[in-house]
Chain length 326, copies 2
Amino acid sequence: MNILVTGAAGFLGRRLIEALLLRGALTDRQGATQSISKIVAFDVVPLNGLDDPRVEVVCGDIADPQVLETLVTADVDSIFHLAAVVSSQAEQDFELGMRINFIATQQLLERIRKIGSCPKWVMTSSVAVFGGQLPAQVEDHHVWAPQSSYGTQKAMNDLLLADYSRRGFVDGRSLRMPTIVVRPGKPNLAASSFASGIIREPLNGQESVCPVPLDTRLWLMSPAQAIVNLIHGHELSAAQLAQGRVINMPGLSITVEQMIDALRRTAGDEVANRIRLEPNPAIERIVGSWPGSFTAAYAQQLGFTADHDFTDVIGQFIAEYPPQGR
Amino acid sequence: MNILVTGAAGFLGRRLIEALLLRGALTDRQGATQSISKIVAFDVVPLNGLDDPRVEVVCGDIADPQVLETLVTADVDSIFHLAAVVSSQAEQDFELGMRINFIATQQLLERIRKIGSCPKWVMTSSVAVFGGQLPAQVEDHHVWAPQSSYGTQKAMNDLLLADYSRRGFVDGRSLRMPTIVVRPGKPNLAASSFASGIIREPLNGQESVCPVPLDTRLWLMSPAQAIVNLIHGHELSAAQLAQGRVINMPGLSITVEQMIDALRRTAGDEVANRIRLEPNPAIERIVGSWPGSFTAAYAQQLGFTADHDFTDVIGQFIAEYPPQGR
């Protein structure tokens, strides 16, 4: 079985590839278990340090049709399409966001349609497709009203993937991911970057800025849980997806204040006190437009799962990335 | 004031231009009434027979970027974007539908963004963006789940227009139009074409096929009402559109059986008996996926209006297009 992962050098991409290598097999479109023979790890920068003969690292511009021609061939059985420009970056640079977040997806789908290979396709969408007047808990039939270009681009991808799937060009699944917390590494240009930062930086002895009010409610998923759900999304059969190809993921609904309290309980006052409140209206506007809770009824019926306790999520991060300079 | 109308040779386009010429003026972005100095009537075929010095007929391919460059210049104050490939045609020819219904809209918006002129923009969207499990009456916050490529393309336009408007590239309004009944002329490739046909053809002494069950509930708007709402949509100020740029129009909720009954009351048994029931699964699938009723609360709050009585709608048609060969 040949697999293509876009955005492979990103945090989720690398983790997904590690999980796939460990797992060794996936279910194909006919419902048969197939061992993974090749994973093409595609990104604009190289995925380094994954020393496995099944991994082929390829670099290029995902919005370049010629690149896609060599990348997507008829022998690709499954695609995990994770490549994206993050939310604040897509808001700052409209053309870049449209190009990477939407046009690249459209061209990938067009390439598949022209080959006629109908691979399985798992894509990450986002809670950023929601906005405007929202109920306390968003139901699956709630309208999309993105308040950012990122959310707009993700919603357009969702519509396109659903139609390409309905027409039999691709066997698509789009997972509406919660904010992934705790990400390792450095802050990025995602509007939600602080949600990892306020846990990660204090644990590593550094100050961290919280740009949103303490009562801001977030919809979260741990990295490990995200990988479980991405693979689960792949393993479902097309027949199980009769209610649609775009699935609001389950998650953990928690306020920023509760996140900080959990950090305080886990790591103590000295660590938690490294968080500084410093409102940022641009970030507050984007993050504040996202729902803080979902029923995710369809996802739960399909067997997708959520984290249950944020203290466990912090514990998971500490175990995987032991704090430095604390 | 310079106005561009795309799809100008279509039924709504011609009627809109006639109404604009009669009206003579529109409200500009600053809220001032401006007399209409020019209407560019653009379509792939020429708009004939409108003899008014203010009308400039232009023909071309709306998905050709070079055509758009000459068509959309900084002195265009308002755009009515009506050009589209109808639903069954977009379902039969995927590439054509994507090209005319989505890519042309995207390129038009891109052209405007690059000029930086931010014109007013009124666009026709469709009830075809809805589908899947629907309540008896669709509320404004109900999710879009198109079951056709046409509906998908219209929903993508809506998302794009909302984001371009939010960013200040255009001052857009997308009106989710009900099925327009009674259209004059010949049947077309719209899945909803029968809804006009079962009134128009019997009145003109011809047999007509009804391809859907009698209890199919439709959401209708008369041509005259559609023009009133298109112009009303233009006249609203940006400030009034705080709840969003995509507006589910009010309409008349009626079953096919009630439509035929109204025809029978108006024109007698001989006319109504010219309708033959002949199920067409392809049309039934598309039309049956559309909602038959909406609250349209936002639209009503904004002052959009609906027809109240289908007998009046038939009467309007008979007055405008006196039956022939009856």
